[in-house]
Subunit: 339 residues, 2 copies
């Protein structure tokens, strides 16, 4: 790997400067992505290896991040499990038949990955060729809890109350579903590593909806299974938004890095994780609306506060669609110019 | 006051059992509220003292909570400041002309409270009569930051990105607006106390959208002004959802109690506040969908974990509209039966 900053940071090795990438870096703030989006709908973009690979490398060409992340969606997993969803451009995904009972859970399957998600593996191979060993490629999956949220709620939500109701009133059905999602995700991520991804990240976008006790029961338990199953194959990053309260426990696992959102200060994040694990984050994505000079000041401060080692510069959540291109440039430049 | 459990807990005095009330206890889960809602629209309910008072006492009649909270809305403040909003039943409030510039801010006013919000004071006097000194009455206001969120975003949001953009790119205009909201809120809460409320609560529903540094600058600074201005008049409770990171600093203020949401364990909340302040919370509102027996177990555990003194039993956010009545009964009973 020509640029191994990201892999070094994941191993906790000393680096000249921390690596940088951005969650959702292949996305709607980029005019070249919008051009593709205009021509091809969501499923075509995900399922056509040439398009997924092209979208993946677009931000790298423009900004030269230190890692690429394969363009895809966390909902390819329920789709493969016989839980179909549809995508409303601009509004997000919704499920015509959300899961609400044990019977619904029984109708889901743990699928053959090559058969259902072979197109992802093809996209990985193509992307790896295009990246030409310049930088590592990340493959990702949603956490089982976050996937359950969508499968049961049927759409995005502020509270995911239906998903939580399902867990709290039908815990056996919920755990059966969570285990099936976990088994599918493990098989899926293993195939992705075989196809060429260098690192995997688990997005627990809705973990922070749960109390600390419920988080252990309905989310972390399953993420842990994924980490244990993958640890010999590739470094695993876990990003659990809003789950500051579980950082200490998570830091004791075999995870290679923990993502943190912007509601935790770097100093407190280091304290909660006993400085034992690589951290990734955590600029408030809305802060990229600040003037470029302010962005540079904030990024430099952030690196100083996390420390340059055992650290991966990122946002605290995905980049917003309305961020000006030169503001992204300021974010990336601030890291590359860090001394 | 015949039942002074709530006031005693706010003073940190020893009690036989902790007091209990629920955020949004006068609301959509109650059939008697729904009957009124069918007949009168949102503004009529807020602005007609007889209706507001009746709605306020409805949950007390049914369940006998240890405190009542005046039925109203945090958006009466921007309305009085010449920032009109409209209400879509079931969808929530929206502003036809959101605030986006210094000029917009200049057009807002710090109003005369009796002139613009006299109907709230009338509702308080009527409610106090109806309560007949049985239990205390809480009056509330939104935090200046939370009010700004609605005024700038123009509607509810998952990220309040436009509100944050306004603060990050036009900080002078933002601080001018925040100060005007603060001045209005202080005058409003002082009038409420004069009219008869025994306690005030500040709802910082969207504080947790901000980073710890931005929270100090755009939210806590103004809440602190309100606490300082009110401290001689009535006990102040501050509930800042998602702001676990500011608990230590908040606990050092002159606040009488701090509300906490369900993402912090009682033990950690006590630790962060050095056991120095009364805490209020924090059952996950979705947990009221659990079977009644489970609710009772969770509430007993929660009281054990917070400790019965310096503690007010509540939910971690407002009660959801779809909670069965007997589940609310189980929640209240568990507190009253606590030994």
């Amino acid at each position: 790997m020509k640029n191994d900053l990201f892999l070094k940071a994941l191993k906790g090795e000393t680096v000249e400067r921390p690596p940088v990438w951005m969650m959702r870096q292949a996305g709607r703030y980029l005019p070249e992505f919008m051009a593709i989006r205009k021509k091809y709908d969501f499923f075509t973009r995900c399922q056509t290896p040439e398009l997924a690979a092209e979208i993946t490398v677009q931000p790298i060409r423009r900004y030269g991040m230190d890692a690429a992340i394969l363009f895809s969606d966390i909902l390819v997993i329920p789709q493969a499990m016989n839980i179909p969803f549809e995508m409303e451009e601009g509004l997000g995904p919704y499920l015509p038949n959300p899961i609400r009972s044990q019977k619904d859970v029984d109708q889901t399957v743990v699928p053959d990955i090559q058969e259902t998600l072979g197109y992802v593996m093809d996209a990985i191979k193509l992307t790896k060729e295009m990246l030409n060993n310049e930088i590592p490629l990340i493959g990702f999956a949603g956490s089982p809890w976050t996937i359950l949220c969508y499968c049961v709620q049927g759409q995005g939500s502020k509270t995911f109350d239906k998903a939580k109701e399902f867990c709290f009133t039908q815990p056996i059905a919920a755990h059966t579903l969570l285990q099936k999602i976990t088994d599918t995700t493990i098989a899926y991520l293993k195939e992705k590593v075989k196809a060429g991804v260098d690192v995997v990240q688990i997005f627990d976008s809705w973990g922070g909806m749960l109390s600390p006790v419920d988080y252990q029961e309905f989310s972390w338990k399953y993420i842990q299974q994924i980490i244990e199953a993958l640890k010999e194959s590739a470094p695993v990053i876990s990003f659990a938004k809003g789950c500051w309260y579980a950082l200490e426990e998570m830091s004791k696992s075999n995870v290679s890095a923990l993502g943190v959102d912007w509601t935790i200060s770097p100093q407190i994040a280091r304290k909660f994780t006993n400085n034992s694990v690589t951290l990734q984050g955590n600029l408030d994505p809305t802060r990229l609306l600040s003037p470029p000079k302010e962005i540079k000041r904030l990024v430099t401060q952030m690196i100083n506060d996390f420390g340059k080692d055992k650290y991966i510069v990122n946002l605290g959540h995905g980049i917003l669609p309305n961020i000006p291109l030169d503001h992204v440039q300021a974010f990336i430049d601030a890291v590359k110019e860090y001394k």
